[in-house]
């Protein structure tokens, strides 16, 4: 059994967000981090490793410096890394990206008992499309928004967190799960793990390595093969701090109604 975790290196949007004059993100001037939801996926995989001794493989698509992120995930406890990197892949949108990553996952091989994990969505694009699209390309059953995962033999029981409640789903492996932050708290890299990280294998998969996969069609990968056109990128306006009122009494209700009325909401 193995868990393949798809991860993305993203600009750290918790600091200052730099936007180019054309509206695209100025990635070069921003610190990069591993996408937060992907960290939850890595932690979920490492927990399964702690429980079952399974192998954890981390996969990313990105420029060569993304290897640094993979090494950090190896320092957390992952066993092996794959970096999908090539000029042909540059500028891919979610549609093209999911094809390429799916081809990469195919190269690693998904067998019975295996799980592919992704974060729910990346903080730069916020689409939540790549995980589900990879599942479709690989013909794997998928469960999104995993807030709890239990493995029992070949079955996985997943608690999905939705806006208005939970849904518990049982799914057979191999399958793909997308993970949310409520799932766990990602562990730190360990000192020992850091000293091992650079001796663990990281394989680079370039265009040559993947071109024979039927998913790699030159007309549907890279910037040219991406149907998405970005009109504008912008930083979402900061939400104000929320206000919590506690109590089930009439006074609290009246206070709430007063605040809402004062803001002309009711």
């Amino acid at each position: 059994m193995k868990v393949i975790v798809c991860v993305k290196q993203v600009p750290d949007t918790s600091g200052k967000v730099a936007v180019n004059p054309d509206g695209t993100l100025n990635r070069a001037s921003m610190e990069t981090i591993t996408n937060p939801d992907d960290m939850n996926a890595v932690e979920a995989a490492l927990k399964l490793k702690d429980e079952t001794g399974c192998k954890v493989i981390v996969v990313t698509m990105g420029p060569p410096p993304a290897e640094g992120m993979l090494r950090e995930l190896l320092a957390m406890g992952a066993d092996e890394g794959y970096l999908i990197s090539g000029r042909e892949f540059g500028g891919s949108d979610t549609y093209a990206t999911s094809q390429i990553v799916a081809a990469g996952v195919n190269k690693i091989g998904v067998e019975k008992g295996d799980i592919v994990m992704c974060g729910r969505q990346a903080i730069d694009g916020d689409t939540a499309q790549v995980g589900p699209q990879i599942a479709e390309k690989l013909h794997l059953p998928q469960v999104t928004y995993a807030a709890d995962i239990h493995k029992d033999g070949d079955d996985i029981t997943v608690k999905r967190m939705l806006e208005d409640g939970y849904m518990t789903i049982k799914v057979k492996t191999p399958c793909l799960l997308t993970c949310i932050k409520e799932l766990n708290k990602p562990r730190y890299m360990s000192v020992g793990g850091i000293f091992e990280a650079y001796s663990k294998p990281v394989t680079v998969l370039d265009y040559e390595a993947l071109k024979d996969d039927p998913l790699i069609d030159p007309t549907t990968i890279g910037l040219k093969g991406s149907p998405t056109n970005i009109l504008v990128s912008f930083t979402p306006p900061q939400k104000g701090a929320g206000m919590m009122l506690e109590g089930a009494d009439m006074g609290t209700c009246e206070k709430l109604a007063g605040i809402l009325a004062g803001k002309h909401i009711i």
Partner: protein
């Protein structure tokens, strides 16, 4: 000369910073206020390999190097002087002498639990009458009639980690001998003492000016039975072991001082960019700019000395004078820089609302413990042949 950190060291720094920011900093004020030993944090550090950084994996260490350890103490001290000294005393004063002077059996017995943080280590040299003058030892260790155990009597004071440590390196007088010049001196030996040994107890807990969450106590030996197998090194080697241990310890304390000073600079930069007086951010005044430039420069110089000493220890070069210079300079720089940080904060700096007054209190001890600044000057001048 290569001033670049390795890829592993850069990654470690990131990990130490994440850990310090998320796990240590939020507790620092409370740890200082309540004088509570941050046991949960120690447990977490143990799980992450931070309690045995530069020891081989075969004994349960993380397989790292001395500089990586110094960087850990530095990053912790940037946010909490207490947590930093817990790691430093445990690593340098207990794990290191067992690793460097212990028998294979002693290493196998004690190191795995210490290096994984399951057990905490401490070191007992100082006595009421023997601080800087380590030859003034009064604690005795006498072989019993069976010849199987040493019986320890006496007490040690100001022992870092004492209240929570499980394993202690204890220095005691085992007899009389003569020095190279034929003058009679005390024969001093080192022992590994477990907290559970009969006749051992932890006495008074000191109330301190700084590093208030670290447990500083008295150790009391009343016919304390220590198995002969727990003699560390050979009989009569205790003074040498103690001095070598303190050489290593000085790198840890120098790194603590370094972190405290750097932490204060970070806080002062942040504050002076926010605080407005006379219609300007105080960072716009030249006095603030020059102060911060000097403060940063001093800490950068301290960092070079600390890192250089750590690298020399790692490379098995003679680092005794380097460690003394690093500790002397970093400790005095930290005291000065934290004091200046309080001044830049003005009245707010004197309140416990901001961390710089704590950093100033924490920094003072680095000029005192594990050899006062005066002792460091003695060590340095003796290396220069000035005597």
């Amino acid at each position: 000369m290569d001033f670049h950190l390795s890829k592993e060291q850069l990654m470690l720094r990131k990990m130490y910073r994440d850990f310090a920011e998320n796990e240590v900093k939020p507790l620092a004020e409370e740890v200082d206020e309540t004088e509570e030993f941050p046991m949960e944090t120690v447990k977490k550090m143990g799980e992450l390999g931070m309690m045995g950084i530069y020891f081989p994996k075969e004994y349960g260490g993380a397989g790292g190097d001395v500089l990586s350890y110094a960087m850990c103490v530095e990053e912790l001290a940037k946010v909490c002087g207490t947590t930093a000294v817990i790691v430093s005393a445990h690593t340098s004063l207990c794990c290191a002498p067992i690793f460097e002077h212990g028998t294979e059996e002693q290493k196998r017995k004690y190191l795995p639990d210490l290096l994984s943080g399951k057990k905490i280590g401490a070191f007992g040299l100082t006595e009421p009458g023997a601080g800087t003058d380590a030859q003034g030892q009064q604690t005795t260790a006498v072989l019993d009639e069976s010849g199987e155990n040493y019986i320890l009597n006496g007490s040690k004071i100001f022992i870092t980690n004492a209240g929570f440590a499980d394993v202690f390196i204890v220095i005691a007088v085992t007899g009389k001998t003569t020095n190279k010049r034929g003058k009679p001196i005390k024969e001093i030996s080192a022992f590994i003492v477990e907290r559970t040994f009969p006749g051992f107890s932890v006495g008074k807990h000191e109330k301190k000016m700084g590093i208030r969450g670290s447990s500083t106590c008295e150790l009391v030996f009343e016919d304390c039975i220590v198995p002969k197998a727990n003699l560390l090194g050979k009989i009569g080697q205790g003074f040498k072991i103690a001095m070598q241990t303190l050489d290593g310890g000085r790198i840890g304390i120098a790194a603590q001082a370094l972190g405290l000073g750097e932490g204060a600079v970070n806080e002062a930069i942040k504050y002076t960019k926010e605080r407005v007086q006379f219609g300007k951010r105080i960072s716009q005044f030249q006095n603030t700019q020059f102060q911060l430039a000097d403060m940063h420069t001093r800490m950068q110089a301290a960092q070079f000395l600390v890192y250089s000493a750590a690298c020399k220890k790692q490379n098995h070069e003679d680092y005794s004078m380097d460690a003394a210079m690093a500790k002397l300079f970093a400790a005095e720089a930290a005291s000065d820089v934290t004091r200046r940080a309080v001044q830049l904060f003005g009245g707010y700096g004197y309140t416990r609302e901001y961390p710089v007054e704590r950093m100033m209190r924490d920094a003072k001890i680095t000029e005192i413990y594990e050899g006062t600044s005066e002792v460091q000057r003695m060590v340095i001048s003796s290396h220069l042949g000035v005597n």
